[in-house]
């Protein structure tokens, strides 16, 4: 871990989350001291099982926690040298962090273009039209859809959600499970475009994923969370070669014999109900 921390220090962090604790409804402790660093211009992924607190971590960064009666009770979230924990979500969007929420959350009774224009809500320059064209160049199939966004397929809705984020011209995009409910082929396509946007626009990405294979394929650095804590972190190659990660998340532990949960080391795991 120490070695990894040194390596990541070579690029300046745009976002650093320091030991945050998140409490919902003033009683439910969800995050128990989470720290992570996201270097500028990189793709970083946050992996882990359901209920580990991945989405909560993203919401703690974007401020959307506030809309769910949650609060950062300890620690700090530092974005470009500024403390942003417990700020209003709209203030954080204006500072340059845009969260693409789980389940896409596009506005179903609006058209594709109206959704994209909404993405640029915080901007007041006259270049919205150009940016819509740019989004269409990343997602050409959105251009053909003239009806209501609610009738788009799941993959198209995800593309629209990502396009809407690009419209805000953010410095950083937080993606919550972009692969949810998509076919394997579409997951691949969406991730390729995310990577392309990252390269071409220089937008830093923090991606929460269940599809660890795909996420680690594109991210330079990864964190693994379990029950409200970071349990492992490392570079792409470190994580891909880690035996535990292979066993638990990638599903190809090597060796010829068939994998079974019976044979798995269980020390870092929550109880399984299988």
């Amino acid at each position: 871990m120490a070695a990894a921390a040194e390596r990541i220090e070579t690029k300046p962090s745009i976002l650093s989350v320091n030991n945050i604790e998140v409490v919902y409804d003033e009683v439910i402790l969800v995050l128990r001291g989470v720290s992570l660093e996201v270097p500028e211009g990189e793709i970083v992924t946050l992996l882990g099982p359901n209920g580990a607190g991945k989405s909560t971590t993203l919401k703690a960064i974007s401020g959307l926690l506030k809309t769910e009666r949650g609060e950062v009770t300890r620690g700090s979230v530092n974005f470009m040298g500024e403390e942003i924990s417990n700020r209003d979500p709209e203030a954080i969007v204006r500072r340059g962090i845009f969260q693409v929420m789980e389940g896409r959350r596009i506005i179903g009774d609006m058209t594709v273009i109206e959704n994209l224009r909404l993405g640029a809500f915080t901007r007041r320059d006259g270049q919205v039209r150009d940016d819509i064209e740019r989004v269409f160049s990343y997602f050409p199939r959105l251009k053909e859809r003239t009806g209501l966004a609610g009738y788009l397929s799941g993959g198209e809705q995800q593309m629209l959600a990502i396009g809407r984020a690009v419209m805000a011209r953010p410095k950083m995009i937080l993606l919550d499970e972009p692969s949810m409910g998509l076919s394997p082929l579409l997951v691949k396509e969406v991730f390729n475009i995310i990577h392309k946007i990252n390269r071409e626009q220089g937008i830093t990405m923090l991606i929460v994923e269940q599809n660890a294979n795909m996420a680690l394929h594109h991210a330079g650095y990864g964190y693994i969370m379990e029950s409200g804590k970071i349990v492992l972190d490392g570079t792409q190659t470190e994580l891909l070669n880690n035996q535990d990660v292979k066993d638990f998340y990638l599903g190809h532990g090597g060796g010829e014999e068939r994998k079974s949960f019976k044979n798995l080391k269980s020390y870092k795991r929550r109880k399984r109900w299988l």
Partner: protein, 297 residues
């Protein structure tokens, strides 16, 4: 059969109907963006009309000066009302919020009676002729003006929600509040804006009705007529509000016609919209244009 009379009533109904439609739009605007059923909508008309009357009689301002001042007053009034009274009610049970708006309606009624008296007072004459002749039909000048203004307001609403940045944000907030916040929309601002627009436009309707009938507490009853219109059109549909307003406007006038010609029950004009309200709630509770959710996963 007195066809001329019927035609006159239908035309009157359509004109008053557009006014119902405009006020119903204001009601829907608040309901859609803040989920609050505003029982004090009628009092917005009352307050707007009294304030404008006060500017025009006390300071002898002409209409073109008095009206913008009234709008400014109502905009501030709407925002303050939202911040002081309704914002603390966010997250409270719906019945509490409804009781609050009913309470507001009573308070404003009493307040206006206390300040301006309980008797109807006429507006200073604005038009040279109180009524004009359009194709053989007598139409009140104020109504003609209101028709024009109503159509402009409706077109304005259409443009606002279709093309303006804030309008899109308001629609997004109505559809999915948290998603709107994730886009950088301030829900507090959207709520305040909804109340301000609603108050301003209702005030305009109040002034027009006040010019024709004089300003009195009867104006808030005009606001109550909005309920049948809104229920008919569907609680959350702006288009429905306009259609509902027109239908209710015509309906009450036609009811008046049948009543005066054959039935002789009396006062059917006032009651008919509410019969319609009950029937609609029984057969089509979502109204003509109420929400059909689009869902696709």
């Amino acid at each position: 059969m007195n066809l001329d009379f019927l035609l006159q009533l239908v035309v009157n109904g359509l004109i008053v109907g557009t006014l119902y439609g405009v006020v119903a739009m204001c009601f829907v605007l608040i309901y859609k963006s803040t989920q609050i059923v505003n029982f004090a909508q009628g009092e917005f008309l009352l307050i707007g009309a009294w304030v404008c009357w006060w500017f025009m009689t006390e300071y002898r301002l002409p209409l073109w000066a008095g009206l913008p001042l009234t709008f400014a007053f109502m905009a501030i009034f709407g925002v303050l009302l939202q911040i002081v009274v309704l914002r603390p009610m966010i997250g409270q049970p719906i019945i509490s919020v409804i009781m609050v708006t009913i309470g507001l309606s009573m308070v404003f009624q009493a307040l206006m009676g206390w300040i301006f008296g309980v008797f109807a007072k006429p507006f200073p004459p604005v038009f040279e002729h109180a009524a004009v002749n359009v194709l053989g039909l007598q139409v009140q000048s104020a109504y003609l003006m209101s028709l024009l203004i109503s159509v402009v307001i409706m077109a304005g609403f259409y443009w606002f929600f279709k093309h303006s940045r804030i309008g899109l944000a308001m629609r997004a907030t109505a559809y999915d509040q948290q998603a709107a916040q994730s886009l950088g929309v301030s829900v507090k601002q959207v709520f305040a804006m909804a109340w301000a627009i609603s108050a301003v436009v209702s005030a305009l309707a109040g002034v027009v009705v006040g010019m024709v009938n004089g300003v009195s507490s009867a104006l808030s009853f005009f606001g109550i007529k909005v309920f049948p219109a809104v229920i008919l059109g569907g609680l959350d549909s702006i288009v429905g509000a306009i259609v509902g307003g027109l239908v209710i406007g015509v309906l009450e006038n036609v009811a008046e016609y049948f009543d005066s010609q054959w039935l002789h029950i009396g006062n059917l004009y006032t009651v008919a919209p509410f019969y319609a309200l009950v029937i609609i709630l029984m057969i089509k509770p979502y109204g003509l244009f109420g929400t059909r959710n689009i869902e696709r996963i």
